[in-house]
Each structure stands twice: as structure tokens, then as C-alpha cells.
Symmetry: C2
């Protein structure tokens, strides 16, 4: 068993020695992705896609509970449509893929593969929004988008990625701002409750806004290596797109008005965030809410009479209760199986062998801390299921606590750029909390001097000092700074 | 009320006078689609997308129950990859969209937007299939694909459409053939049980096979106007793709072998099939299994005390039981609402007003035949729910029976091309059952002379005569012929 274990573990780099290699190793060894002949694009393999399906199911429920409906726009955007909103086209045109031929014929107008769909939604709104009675429209779509990135990494940055994009249109600015905030909160709640991942909620600085937005809100998470990852964004557009696309409605006073819009999205990047937040040197560690397999049952001495039957009985009880459970009765050794399902991040492993059967119990091992607990099998099904669910909750809570510890331990309050440099050198990468005067020049200079850029202006402000960490002039805001994925 | 009704009904063409216009009218008036600035592509609006989500949910469950896993391949295929299988590229290259630019740079190799993904799956199998232990792989993906069609119609033929594509790879030819048949049966069962749509199962002739397939199986449905619609296909590939992509595995005797493959798919075309199978001059009629709203509750004299409360109570009871129910208490007239939800094809309408409340009942109207039934509300919730469910079943059964009647009434047995011409002239378009010698020449000639092409060679064969309907030589197979969408 020790040998088997070693072989599996040898297969991945140590996260402390080479985090980037560790990440790539997990992506491949846990069978999450596979490279393809299409540069910058990957296959999302069944195990990773099942994680994405769980993410989709939970988020989609949250979207519907907040009144949103799913739609589907075309994947192509004619060049003239993309160009209608000036800031938007400037932001996206340099990184889109262009379709120039259909069959054997050159197209009259080239089409880009959507990098995002604001322009398509606006084109549609112009057709269907005429009166205040038509508002709001609260739409979402689950699709893939394309951005022609030069360097790519699985889940974090790829030329095609899966996401959802919410697009809403409202009578008033206040309603649209409220929606922008509501959806950022939905994302933050989802990260906490489903991904066991704490995030910082805040606003992007002017230089970091989405192309065409009045303001961009974001949730920022801190990875195990101390780098920040933008995990979701929510944009308030004002009426800029409405004016560019001539979307108008008759209001309650019979006056023509421009409506106000929002958009918001999260992507398969969340899978990368889960890997880098919870994984360890034994592999992936998955939060139970999104784990394709929540409980794996490994029979011990399975050739002995009754062992497989006893294991199958536990599987059936858990399955009937809606737990995602797998019984591995293959002829691999228990040690191989232990290592395999640790690599795959299965939250709870149940072991059952002849000795356990004698004492009418089984062993439950929680993935994140390898803690062993005996669970009685000499009880009503419901009692057994609850004991297993309690173990799943323990994994969720343990993962969240560890991630929060990491975030708190790696958040440094600094009042000068020298302090920032020192904090990062002494403690490693992390979030830096520091005051800012609001000038882009200082934002750039902090990055130049210290290597950390502004991540967001958090909603929860704190007065660390009265002056800008860079220029010493009066500070306007406390900012989270960090190196970003 | 009569006037309201008339206004709504006037909005769509009569299906008997202009079926094509009737179809387009339904697509727009029932808010299923909207046209876009992207030629040949449409917006799938929330109501139609919700139908698609129901189709997805049910089919995805059937795929998982038969052991399949979802994955996601890139949307692009490099030209060299598309060209690896000769028949396949010949079939698809003329109708693909080509990406030739990424950002501002010309690509070294152009990429097509997937028209189908056999080549990508093969590229992936070559990486991950090495031993018989790696087989079978039973994969599926839910994505959109692009085919550069010249003339397009909502759902039936568009440049981009949504679909699922199953792709499997097996040790033996027998296993792959079995899979091909299994999935055709899954489609046929789904059409019967979820869409209330009878289909003919059979094999395509050589000239109608999928590009690269050894054999193509299909389900063919008959629309209200007597035209056939191919509703799903399942292909057996033999080892042709494996050889072209050099996919090999070590078998149980330690010998290198080529594996055998299949693929199978259904598309948003199914929504078009539902419209043209069940719709009538009052609009759409949806089978309960895929209807976004299964029951609409319309209060009558809703300003009277207690009416809205009584309606809301029924809604809550049905909702708690898992019925997809909507209460429309807007200030539109009941007549307007009746017409609106008939247009949208809601299977059951419940009316409740002061009189009904007095007699402790409500009225349930089934969409397909406008039959009115009184349902007691003076009973346990469960009894009420079961009575409503019984009405939903009545709609499903009624829709299926009508569709089967149409198919049977419009299926003509013919023994000569003259008989075919006469049958179609006298009875209108439909399926023609006639014998065939197996020669492509005769297949083409039948189409030329009569206007109907071969739809499929049904699995349920019947000996209509001994000789080919065209050349008079000995017949090999009975064939379904028809005009196709």
C-alpha cells in the first residue's frame, strides 16, 4: 500500500516546489483535461465536466430563484454590430477570432466568434423592448466564448472557455445597480456555500473596468500560492449601450427613455480556482457540493465472504438518499484506490472489511485532513446517512476554514511601497491592503515598484492610514492589491 | 371574449391555407424565436429555450442511465484534422464556416467551426485509448454546431443550431452496432414518451448516409402537412475513423486492434417537429413532459373577493407537487388569457371564479381538444393533484393519438410510380410504402417521377409486392418514401 501510494504521489510535482507544474499535473492526472490539436483549446474530460454540471445546476437554480430566464443568442457577431459601442469594440476587437469564409465563399462582412454577447443582446432588446411593460428583461445564457489569448493554461486562460453570461435591462439606473450588486452577492454566496471558497467583494478601478461599463464589480479569491484570482464579475452599463443601439422605451409618463443595463458572468475558471484553493500534494480536494463523487466506498479484503455485499448495501443506502456515491470493487489494491480517489479529491472515503463488519461499523476518512471516524452500520438507514452527511459537512467546513486561514494569513496591511515589498518578501505572495489616492498614475507606480496591481476597491472599507501608499497625498479608498492569475 | 380570441387567432395564418406561414407565425407569436442581424441565425427566446431545457434534462437522464458521460470538445477543427477521413471531409467541407484570423493576425492554418465533432473525438481517443481496459468510452456533449446553409428556417434549418452529439468507441463491431441501435431506440422512446410523437425507425439508404458512416439509422416523423422530418440519427462507423486517425488498442490477446465507433444526435429541430406535429389554428400545443408551463390558472371575475386567493391556493398545491404551474392574475381579460395560453400551447388551463368556488370545484380545459372537465377542490391536496395529472396525461395521450392517426391516415402502400402520384394527388403529401430493388438509379428515378425521396428502410419490413416500384426487378426492401423538411 505504501508503495502504491508513493507511485501515485510521485506522479505530481510538489506544490511548494513548483506550484505551476503541480497545477498542470493535477489537471492531467486527475483526468480533468486533455490537450488537443487545436492550439490554446482543451478537452474538458468527464470528471471536470461533471464538476461544471454541478456548478451549472446550483448557479442556474440561484439565477432562476432571482427571476432570470435562459435564452440563447447566436455565436457570431457581424463586425458592424461589434463596432456600435466604441469602448466595447476597442476592448475586444484585438482578441477575437474572425470568420471570413462560409463554405467556399468569402463573406461580405466578417463575423467574429462572440468574445461576450452585449452587442447581440442589445440588438435583440432593440427589437423587443418598447414600453415599460416590457421591462425588466432578466436573461442569462450558458455558452462558450472565444478570446484569442497568446499564452494559455487549463481553466485559467484558454482561447475557448465555457461560461454563463447574464444580461439584464431595466427601467431605472437604481434598479440596474441593484441587480449588479445582487448578482455579485449571488456569486459570493455560491463561492462560499458551494465551492468553500472565501472571496473579497469590491469594485474594479477605472483602468480595470469591463470595456463599455460604467462600473465593474468583482469577487477576488486568494489561491494557495498567494496569487489572486478574479472569480466572477458583474457590470453596470448605465444607458451607454442603449444609446449606441438606440434601445428606447415609453415610460410610465408616456415619455421616451433609454433603459439601463447590466451583465455578469462566471466561467470554467472556477474549476481552476477550486484546484488552487483546496488541492494539496496528494491531488485535488473537492467541495462536496460540486464533487462528481461525494463518497467512494473501498472494500478491504474484498475476496472475503460478504465484504462486497456489505459495501454494496452501504452504496445502495447512500444512493437512495441522493448522495453521489461510487463503490470501487475493481481488482486494484485498496492502497491504489486510496491514492486514486485522493488524487481525484473525493471528499469522503468509506472503508469496510471483515473486521469492520464484525464490529458493525465502517471507517470514514475525510479527504482534506485524512481524519478517520468510525460510523456505526448497526442503525436505521437514515441514521447512517446522516452520519455520512455530517462527514461531508466536515469536509466543506474544513476546506472553507483552511482557505480562509490562508487568505487571512496572507493579507498584509501596508502604508508604504517599501512595506509592501518587505511583506511580500518575508511572507510570500498575498493580498496587500493599502490606501490609494485614486490616481491611475499611482496605481501603475505601485505595480511597477512592488509587482502587485490593484485587485479591487473592497465594499468593506478600512482606514489603514490617511494617505496614498504611493504619493502620500490624501487617500480616497482602501484597495486590495495582489499578483493575479 | 370572443373578440379577444379572434384578434389573437387572426394573428396567425390558417395552417390549411399556408402551412409555411402558419409555422413562421407560431414561431414569432408564441415568442419562440426572434430574428437577428446575423444572417441565418436566430435568438432562441426564453419560452423555446425552456422547452429545450426540458428536452435536455429528460434525454440527458436517459443517456446517463445507459452509461454515458458528458464531455466538452473545442468548437474549432484545424483544416488538417477535418481532412483526415476522406468521405467525412467531402461531406462537410463545402458547408463549414472558416476562421482565418485571430485578433489582427492571419492564422497559419485555418480552423472551421465544428459542423460535427467526429474528428475531435478521434483526435482525443488517439491520446487516451491504448488497451481494451480503456474501452468502451461512452461520451456525449451538448453544444452548438454550424453549417453554412443557404436557405434557413427557425429550428428546421439554421446556420447555427443546438444539439447533442454522442460519440462512443468500442472493442468490437458487434458492441458498436448494438450501441447504434440502442441510441436510436432511446430517441424513438423519447419521441413517443416525451414529445407524444410517433416515429418510424429504419436505416438510411447508401446515398443518404452520414459522411464517413458504414450505416446510418434514423427516426422519421410525419408532420401535420404530410411532409417527413428526420428527427434523429445514429451512425455506425466501423473502424474507418480509427484507421484514418490511427487509434489502436491492445486487445485481450495482446494483439493491436482498431476499435469501432458510433455517433448519434438530435437537435433543436425537435422543437420544430413538436410545432408541426401538434400545433393547430389556435397556436402551439405542447406535450406536458416538455411544456415550460404545464398548467395555467386563469381566475374569472378576479376582482371578486377570494378569487385570487383561491387561485393562488391551487397554484401552491400544484407547485408543491412538482407541477410546472403559472397563475396569471394580470389585468388582461380572461378571454385574452385563454387565447394567449392556447397560442403558447399550455397543456391544461384551470379556470376558477366565484361560481366554481361556491360549488367547490374548478374547470380544467385540455389544450388539444378544448374539453372541459370539472375538478373538485373539496378534497385532499393529493386527490386534486392526481386529478390534474390525469388531465395532463389526457393531453399527452390525445396528442399522441392524433399524431398517430395523421401518420396512419397519410401512409400509402403503392406498387407503381403511377400509384404513388395518384395517392399523393388524391390524399395529399404523406409517407409512401413501396418496394425497392436497392439500386440508386431507381431511388433517384422515383424521386424524379413522383417527388418523394427515400426516407428510410424501416426495421419493420412488410412485403407489399415482389418487385421494385420503379424498375420491376426483384425487390430487396420495403422503403418509406416522402417529401422531407
Amino acid at each position: 500500500m505504501a508503495k502504491d501510494n508513493k507511485k501515485m504521489v510521485d506522479a505530481i510535482a510538489s506544490m511548494d516546489e513548483d506550484f505551476a507544474q503541480w497545477y498542470t499535473d493535477i489537471c492531467l492526472k486527475a483526468e480533468l483535461v486533455s490537450y488537443t490539436s487545436v492550439k490554446g483549446c482543451m478537452v474538458i474530460r468527464p470528471y471536470a465536466y461533471a464538476i461544471w454540471e454541478n456548478i451549472q445546476r446550483i448557479l442556474d437554480g440561484m439565477f432562476k430563484d432571482t427571476g432570470h430566464e435562459n435564452v440563447c443568442m447566436p455565436m457570431f457577431i457581424p463586425e458592424s454590430l461589434l463596432q456600435k459601442e466604441k469602448d466595447h469594440v476597442e476592448g475586444f476587437a484585438p482578441e477575437v477570432a474572425w470568420v471570413t469564409m462560409g463554405g467556399n465563399e468569402k463573406l461580405d462582412e466578417k463575423l467574429c466568434v462572440r468574445p461576450t454577447s452585449e452587442t447581440l443582446f442589445c440588438d435583440h432588446y432593440a427589437n423587443i423592448v418598447h414600453s415599460y411593460r416590457d421591462l425588466p428583461k432578466l436573461y442569462n445564457q450558458w455558452v462558450s466564448v472565444v478570446r484569442w489569448e497568446k499564452t494559455t493554461r487549463p481553466f485559467l486562460r484558454s482561447r475557448e472557455f465555457l461560461w454563463q453570461e447574464g444580461h439584464t435591462i431595466h427601467e431605472t439606473a437604481a434598479e440596474a445597480v441593484e441587480e449588479t450588486e445582487r448578482m455579485l452577492n449571488v456569486y459570493a454566496d455560491f463561492c462560499r456555500d458551494a465551492l468553500a471558497m472565501p472571496v473579497v467583494k469590491g469594485m474594479k478601478t477605472e483602468s480595470d473596468k469591463f470595456a463599455g461599463a460604467v462600473s465593474t464589480y468583482a469577487i477576488e479569491a486568494l489561491m494557495h500560492d498567494g496569487k489572486a484570482l478574479q472569480a466572477g464579475t458583474s457590470h453596470y452599463f448605465g444607458d451607454g449601450f442603449a444609446k449606441a443601439f438606440n434601445i428606447q422605451f415609453t415610460d410610465r409618463n408616456n415619455t421616451l427613455q433609454y433603459p439601463h443595463q447590466t451583465s455578469w458572468g462566471v466561467t470554467t475558471r472556477l474549476i481552476g480556482a477550486v484546484i488552487m484553493t483546496h488541492g494539496d500534494n496528494n491531488g485535488l480536494a473537492l467541495p462536496p457540493a460540486v464533487a462528481p463523487v461525494q463518497v467512494v466506498i473501498v472494500p478491504v479484503q474484498q475476496h472475503k465472504e460478504g465484504v462486497i455485499d456489505a459495501a454494496a448495501k452501504l452504496r445502495d443506502i447512500l444512493k437512495a438518499a441522493g448522495v453521489r456515491v461510487k463503490l470501487d470493487d475493481s481488482d486494484n489494491s485498496p492502497g491504489w484506490k486510496f491514492a486514486e480517489y485522493e488524487m481525484k479529491g473525493v471528499p469522503v472515503r468509506i472503508e469496510i472489511g471483515p473486521k469492520d463488519m464484525e464490529s458493525k461499523q465502517c471507517v470514514a476518512v475525510t479527504r482534506h485532513n485524512r481524519e478517520k471516524v468510525f460510523i456505526s452500520t448497526d442503525c436505521a438507514d437514515e441514521v447512517f446517512v446522516n452520519a455520512v452527511r455530517e462527514r461531508l459537512t466536515a469536509v466543506h467546513d474544513g476546506l472553507y476554514r483552511n482557505a480562509l486561514d490562508n487568505l487571512e494569513r496572507r493579507t498584509y496591511k501596508c502604508t508604504s511601497t517599501d512595506e509592501i515589498i518587505k511583506a511580500l518578501e518575508e511572507n510570500g505572495d498575498g493580498f496587500v491592503k493599502a490606501m490609494w489616492c485614486g490616481e491611475e498614475e499611482c496605481e501603475d507606480k505601485v505595480k511597477e515598484l512592488t509587482g502587485v496591481g490593484s485587485r479591487c476597491i473592497p465594499f468593506e472599507q478600512e482606514q489603514i492610514s490617511d494617505v496614498c501608499v504611493c504619493c502620500g497625498k490624501p487617500a480616497k479608498k482602501m484597495v486590495y492589491w495582489g499578483k493575479a492569475y
